[in-house]
Structures are given as C-alpha cells and as structure tokens.
Symmetry: C2
Subunit: 338 residues, 2 copies
DNA sequence: TTTTTCATCGAAAACGTTTTCGAAAAGCAG
DNA sequence: CTGCTTTTCGAAAACGTTTTCGATGAAAAA
C-alpha cells in the first residue's frame, strides 16, 4: 500500500487538493458534509500529512531541541521527562542533542540549529563553555532559547534555575553545624553558572558564620572519571584532609564514596559528605547521602512552558523571565554525628 | 540578518540556484573554482540548508525515532546515550518519544510515525502492550524498525536483547545456592518479552536444581509506584514470606529495599535480593545490591547500527538479525551470607 | 427583475531544495 | 573550418503542503 497524500484523497473524492486540505483542518470555508466525507476517507486510508511539506510551507516545525551535556544522569533525564510531557501536550516533537561536556560539540550543535530544524531550543551548557558567542549568534537569528540549570547570561533569554547560592550556603552551613572544621568544595568546572553560585554560597557561608571558619578549599575536578577519582583521592590522602565535602554535582559524591571505600575512610565518622543530587536511592546508600535535591521534573516543565510562551507570541520580546525554583536540603546519614 | 537561502547565494554570485546547490554538495559537474566561490560565500553568510525542503525533496529525513517507556530510568537513559552516539556519527537526528508505559500512548506514537517524519524507529515496548497490530502496520509501510530489550515478535524485525533466560536462570540459581528455600519473582507485567524469558529462567531453575526447590512464586506488580509498594509489602508481610526476591527490573528492587526498611526486615539476613539493574550506585547501597547488569550502552549502539544497516540497504530484506548480548551477574551484599 | 451577499469550492503560487536534461562554450581531431 | 566530445552551467520540474484569491451558483435584498 503506497502512501496516501492529498492528491490521492482529492482524486478519490472528486475534490480539489485545496478543498481536501481545508477540510482536514476544519476550515469554515468547507461544508460540513464535505468535511465528513474527507475525514472518513482520510481515516480509511490512514492518511498522515507529510510533516516536512507542512513544515516547509508553514515555516514552523512543531519541533524543539533539547541540548544537554549528558543523558545518563539522574538530573538531566528527569528534566527531559518534564520537557517531554509538556511538549507532547503541545503536540511538539523533541530532538535531543548531547554535548558530552564538550565545547566543540556544543558549537557544532548550535551551529546546526540555525537551519530552522526547530522552533525553539532548551539548553543547559556544557562544563567547558566559557564563551557565549555561538549562543548569541543563534539568538540573533530570532530563535527562542530558554536556558536551565547551567545557564548563559545573555540578554533577553529566559532561564530556569534553582536557588543555587542559597543552597550552597545552606549545604556548607549544614556541614559547619555538624562540626566540620574544614570543608572542601568539589566541582566539575569553574566555568558554569551553577558552580559560580554554589561556590559563592559556600565561600560566604565560610566567611559569615562566626564559628571558627574552615578555610576556602575549592577543587575543580574536570569532567572525566579518571581525573575525578584522582583529584579526590589526592585531596583525601593529605594529612590535613578536610572533615567535610560539599559536592556540587552527584557524580562527585559517588566518586567520594568510592574513594572513601578505597582509603578506608568512614562516612560520616572520618568525613562528612553532602551533595547536589537527584539520586533516587540516596536514602538507601551506605551511609544514606545527605542531598540538596533539585526539582528536576519541574525545571523541565517550567523551562518548556517558558519556551512555548516565547514561541507562541514572539512579539512579547520584552519578556525575559528568570524563574528560580527551590531545592530542598535533605539531611541524612552522610552528615550525621558518628 | 534574514535567513540566507540558495536563491540569495545564487543572486549574489551571479549563478543559478542549481549550480549553487550542486557546488555545495561537491558535484563533479561544477568547476573547482566555482565551488570555492560558492563555499566561501556560504560560509560568510553562514548558510544552513533548510532541512525540511531537503527532506521533502529527497524523501528522507536524516532522523530516527526512539520510542521507550520512560527516560528517568538508568537502563533506558544509557541505551539512549549509545543510540545518540551512533546517530550523531551518522549525521542523524534523534526524536525521542515516551510512552510512559501506556499502551494508548504507544498506539498514538506509532500511528504518528507513519507520517514519514523519521527514516527508522528504535523501540522498546511498554509494559501494557500485548498486541502488535500497530507495529505490524507500521512495518508494512516499509518503515525500518529495530526492537531492543522489550521486543515484539514480528517477522523480519531485527532485535537486540540480552540473555534474559540464562540470566533469569542464573539469578535464581544464585539465590538457591545462597540457601533461599522460597524465592519470589517480581515483575511489572507479564506481557513483556523480557518478563517471559526471565520468568521462564526462574521457573526452570527452580525445577531443575535438585536441592529442594522453592515453589514458583511470581508477582506482577503493575507499573505505578503505589501498586508496587503495596504488592511487595503484602508479599513480605505474609507469615511464610519468601527468603529470596528476584526483581526483574530495578525499580522493584528499590521498592523492596524501602519496604524492608519499613517492615524492619534485614537484607540479606531476613531476605536476600537480586535484581536486574543498571544502577551505578549498586555497590554503594546498604547493603550493596547483587545485580544482573545489562550492557545498556552497547544495546543502544548495536540496535542503532542494526537500524542504519536496514535504512541504508533496504534491499536486504531477508536480513533479520537477532543480536543477543550477555548480561553479567555481580554478587554483592544483598545475597551474601548474613 | 436586478443587484448583493453568502456559501462553497478550485487554480495556482508559494515554501527551499534536488535532480534531470538540455544548452552553450570550449577543446580537439580531422 | 567542420564535426565531435568534454566541461560547465541553467531552466524547470518535481517533493506535498498551505493559503490567497477568484470563480461559481444560489440565496437574499433591492
């Protein structure tokens, strides 16, 4: 059975292509009875309009792109879930692109997105990205972009983030209250927006709290596994190793657990750990992991809704919302008293 | 700066649209010097060909669809990673669709895929799916489909799976060897291909092993969280509760851990647990979780490569490969002696 | 009756590519 | 200089929609 198109329907019904097209989109120009005839045959022949022809003619693709550093990651995969739910509700399709934390990949992806393949872009920067030229160029073509989590500071671009500064502050405070005298801050890269804010929260907590402040100890580990393990092992092997670790992303906490196993360090006895994390098994770890948990699903939902508002009424160009959702600190065993 | 298209390039260069088009795709018909002129201007004006026009004309979209039950799932997100890597290498785009374990959603998605939006489909069935009509119809339109993990038995459809029967057998055997006299088998649904094979392995292991066989105890929990917790709680509250649990998917093991916490049951003392799982923190759980781990990334990679072979040489219709990768059983604390 | 309006449809021009086919020019052999 | 091939390009027809605009006939208003 070859594909059925408008022409075929038209011939079969003794109508013009134009009439069939209008009937299918329920135009007022077409008589009710004709519409029904058209719909019936369309159903019978299982007609599916060619999305590429339609997209070309209407110059919109009903498609959005999601550009993220990685997918095998609890945070991003849940965000994507939220995005998909909204997109599906709007009848939009979702193309996902992974940068794998590579700036070069990000450039290439963004460059490609100039083609008009998508009507909008949802994006979280890769850890290497320190320059926003490519994103500014994309934005200048009129492409609606919404950033989430790892955002780019670009004028008139909506963002969805969490209260990273406050969370960083509270996490550090939490460690201090649990008697950590020295606290290390772990991150992948110093470039990302989230790192800057979380680290600033960490620094300010160390400064402002009257209890004898641990010294500022920030470690940027890079994003590949070997380097992370090495950096943490080095940190924890020093004779004056920190008493607490604040991991700015989940994989650093996981690595810390593994290193502690290797070095026979007890959590929370020898080392207390808290981490940004969306691990669903945080409470089942040994010991259970204290986390700052971001509302990942809502981030995806809100970012996607923001994007659709941008897509639908481009006129409202003055709109530049910055949505900040709240993360929640959940204290568990890894920061508990011995 | 308005978008640049072939017409604009042609006018600027005093060439025809045809020539510019052919120059950009490096046709032999075009003089080297002309090609260079065209490429230079295209670069300068940042020309990006309109993918929809191109797709319509060439009748191929350079796009594949991935249809999976959920994305916030360690297994599927890693599979997707593998898929993306291959797709990107081939210059293809990836549309993802989530069925959220709903048959209705699956039907709608598959129906839409008849439109020609994609050149091929990678798919894992939702747990409700017991009937393959919609998939057969899609296949009959000539759409290349490759199933992975939860496959549909449809003639001439390549599949990528793991050795589910053997793994089910080995997992059960492992529990028996660790002195479980009664073993419950947990699954989401009895419809899926993986469930049938894993459960059959379980049943045969119970039958074939001479040591006093535990009785066959299969529980199908459904796929929503409340139901799962309830079913497991009911199972473990019975006075003759099983001594071992074989969870056919990760979320059932997680739920089991939570229920055990609630009921004050000790793992592995009161209950031993093994599960199919791609949890990266399995070794860090309390207790560490014995797993059958599937090579998720490779499944994605292989499935995608199979799909591209289907897409590229449709002629080879006789090809109907069934790739079976090996899972690995990793014994950890949850099945250990007390 | 004549003129206007209204309801219903169709012809045709887009949308931006790719590809076929023929034309022109240039080179070469005779 | 003639006939032939080769090189290089352009005209035009697709691909399947959507949309504008005009045509037609019938009903309503004059």
């Amino acid at each position: 059975m070859e594909k059925t198109d408008l022409k075929k329907l038209a011939k079969e019904l003794n109508l013009s292509i134009a009439t069939v097209s209008k009937a299918l989109r329920d135009s007022w120009e077409i008589k009710a009875e004709t519409k029904q005839r058209v719909r019936d045959l369309a159903d019978k022949l299982n007609y599916q309009p060619n999305p590429y022809a339609s997209s070309m003619r209407k110059r919109k693709s009903q498609t959005i792109a999601v550009v993220i550093p990685e997918i095998a990651n609890n945070f991003f995969s849940v965000v994507l879930d939220g995005i998909q739910v909204i997109a599906e509700k709007k009848g939009f399709h979702v193309l996902t692109y992974l940068t794998h934390e590579s700036y070069t990949n990000e450039i290439a992806t963004i460059r490609h997105l100039q083609s008009g393949r998508v009507d909008g872009v949802l994006m979280s920067l890769c850890s290497e990205t320190a320059d926003y030229q490519h994103l500014v160029r994309l934005k200048e073509t009129g492409m609606p972009i919404v950033f989430f989590d790892r955002i780019a500071e670009i004028p008139d671009c909506p963002t969805v983030t969490t209260d990273d500064y406050e969370s960083g502050y509270r996490a550090t405070e939490h460690l201090l209250q649990n008697h950590c005298k020295t606290i290390a801050y772990l991150s992948l890269s110093q470039h990302t927006s989230i790192n800057r804010k979380r680290q600033q929260g960490y620094i300010d907590a160390l400064k402002n709290i009257p209890a004898k402040p641990g010294k500022n100890l920030a470690v940027h580990c890079g994003d590949e596994n070997g380097g992370i393990m090495l950096a943490i092992k080095k940190l924890l092997s020093k004779k004056n190793r920190p008493e607490g670790i604040f991991a700015s992303v989940e994989k650093l906490a996981i690595a810390t657990y593994h290193v502690c196993n290797e070095l026979k360090l007890k959590i929370p006895g020898d080392l207390k750990v808290i981490s940004f994390s969306n691990l669903r098994t945080a409470s089942l770890l040994n010991p259970s992991l204290s986390t700052i948990t971001q509302p990942a699903f809502d981030i995806g939902r809100e970012a996607c809704e923001l994007l659709f508002r941008k897509i639908e009424k481009k006129s409202n160009n003055y709109m530049s919302e910055h949505l900040v959702l709240k993360s929640s600190l959940i204290a568990r065993g890894s920061t508990g008293r011995i």
